[in-house]
Symmetry: C2
Subunit: 330 residues, 2 copies
DNA sequence: GCCCCGAATCGAACCGGTTCGATGATCTGC
DNA sequence: GCAGATCATCGAACCGGTTCGATTCGGGGC
């Protein structure tokens, strides 16, 4: 393993000049710089990360902190988001590190260590639960960060979809085809994304002059079944379902079929997240693609801006979505 | 931010003794150690990662290098594997870093930098393509590593399932129910896992005295459709399908239904990887769970052993699997 | 009472980079 | 031709830990 001192010796310059040359500093003549670079190539020199971090104060790494490891979202969403983060980080010369705490408490401990031990220059927060402590921590510490989703705490940078529009678009698509009794299978009532989606759903229903019905699913996708059966048992009309996530849509589809209702002729369904397998189900599932990759890239952009300029305030980005129409809503 | 010198000063000891105390060295009296620890807590001291790395030569981080980011596997598999890696790393006091090269060439560059810049103590290799260069690199460098899958190159540590048994179990399950015309929808012929699974499939067929038919799918899951249609058009008998991955199974299921064949009564199907959504499809899909979490944990264990004892040779671990029976093979 | 050994302790060196401050050389302008 | 500014250059300090080697101290054995 060669060090910068080896390079300096071979190029016949001092260590300090070698460092400046390698970092393209203007104070070194281009002819000298070339000699240093040649030496570096000849000796297959690579600066040691730890040493560089120690002296420069930059770690050149970003951190993803996700208590659920994307478990509550569709799995395809998580990998695409990760890839988006990664691509952005790489373009900025950064590395991506992932930590998966078991719960919110551990997440806080890890976040504190992460900041105190200075092993990352910034952090991406995913899926924090309703406890705002984590977000408050990061704001108080003034540490570069970005949250996926909408923040209940002020001063937090965020990247998100326009969830109102996401739900409105899905609903309008169903209503435009002449459906008149739509149902929203929504997430837990207290989560902001669920509130936004409900607002979008209701707006579309109002515009079309139809009644909006909403069920809140708290728990695994299987919880959809009894809720939906209850809805049908009450004799309420139903010819369109908007589901907060694809697994919920699939459980709904299955439940409806078992009750003798055909999808999509009698009931049309649209899910969200555009999970990998949606195109292979029977019938294939329409879904709103949230462009997880773009969410990731935008998250990193905000993060890098905060790192470069610590004084910058909280930033916010909204990322576009796409309705992917498949058989379940034809 | 407090440093170890602050701790030493407050505890009234030298910096060196503070360091020893913090690392629980036997040379320091427990009473003195306590004083140091108290000082550390009082000042909320956290040793800076970069400094520790530089002096100790350990980065306390592991690296996952995956050109495909699990894209070729079911998405649920990747996150479970990642979680297994993460849990193992955490128990060993390590951090997990993920890098996602665009292709095999970039993967090699990154691997070389990773080793040269010493930003990880070990690397987990996933999905290297058929090019053996990457594996050869890591063996030549003598760098701690572990490969997910079977290695075509000698001297590589591996973690894998017993793919022969995986396919045999799935096939036996179908044949035990009285099926007599099984078909294996396998992966690319040149991949070792596909070869192993074919062997297991054929073994089970031979034992049961039925003819083994195999189709090789190279490309996206959609490629299953024309292959399977060709098989049916030839008039070949078919009452059982073993698919190399769940998406393939779903495409097969769909194709069969469109040809008027009922699943599972006329044709039973078993997939592999036990993807998240398999339980929500219609009918729900039987699948072999490869215990991705255990694969991850075992990978880390091998890695840590190699890091602690550089002299240790290549290690190999086989992880058990579980057949999850659902409606598609009843 | 003396010597030896081990334990406790500390200062200093070290890891491999970056950056500051001083020095000497070259150039400009009058 | 010389003062003053500009520039290249280098040694040394620094980042914050770990670890080596030397020193001091106390206790046990003869």
């Amino acid at each position: 393993m060669s060090t910068i001192r080896d390079i300096a010796r071979r190029a016949g310059v001092s260590v300090s000049k070698a460092s400046l040359a390698l970092n393209a500093d203007a104070r070194v003549r281009s002819e000298t710089r070339q000699r240093v670079l040649d030496a570096a190539v000849a000796l297959d020199y690579h600066p040691m990360r730890a040493a560089r971090s120690l002296s420069s104060g930059r770690t050149w790494s970003l951190h993803l902190l996700d208590p659920a490891l994307g478990a509550t979202l569709s799995s395809g969403f998580f990998t695409r988001f990760l890839r988006g983060l990664h691509d952005g980080a790489r373009d900025g010369g950064f590395t991506l590190t992932v930590t998966v705490p078991q719960d919110e408490g551990e997440a806080r401990t890890i976040l504190k260590r992460l900041i105190a031990e200075r092993w990352s220059d910034g952090v991406v927060l995913m899926n924090p639960s309703d406890d705002d402590a984590l977000l408050t921590d990061v704001v108080v510490a003034g540490f570069p960060h970005v949250l996926l989703g909408r923040s209940p705490v002020a001063g937090v940078s965020t990247v998100d979809n326009d969830n109102v529009a996401v739900a409105r678009d899905a609903t309008e698509h169903l209503l435009a085809a002449g459906r008149t009794s739509p149902l929203l299978l929504n997430g837990p009532e207290h989560r902001t994304f669920a509130q936004d989606r409900e607002r979008g759903f209701r707006a579309a229903c109002t515009d079309a002059g139809v009644e909006a019905r909403v069920l809140h699913v708290d728990g695994p996708p299987e919880a959809v079944r009894p809720l939906l059966e209850g809805h049908l048992d009450e004799g309420l009309p139903l010819d369109a379902v908007v589901a907060v996530a694809d697994p919920h849509a699939l459980v709904a589809m299955r439940t409806l079929k078992e009750r003798g209702l055909n999808v999509p002729t009698e009931v049309a369904i649209v899910g969200m997240n555009n999970d990998d397998l949606t195109r292979y189900t029977d019938p294939s599932l329409s879904s709103v693609d949230l462009d997880a990759h773009a969410l990731g890239r935008n998250a990193v952009e905000l993060l890098l801006a905060a790192i470069d300029d610590q004084g910058v305030g909280a930033g916010h980005r909204l990322v576009g979505h796409t309705l992917v129409i498949r058989e379940s809503s034809l």
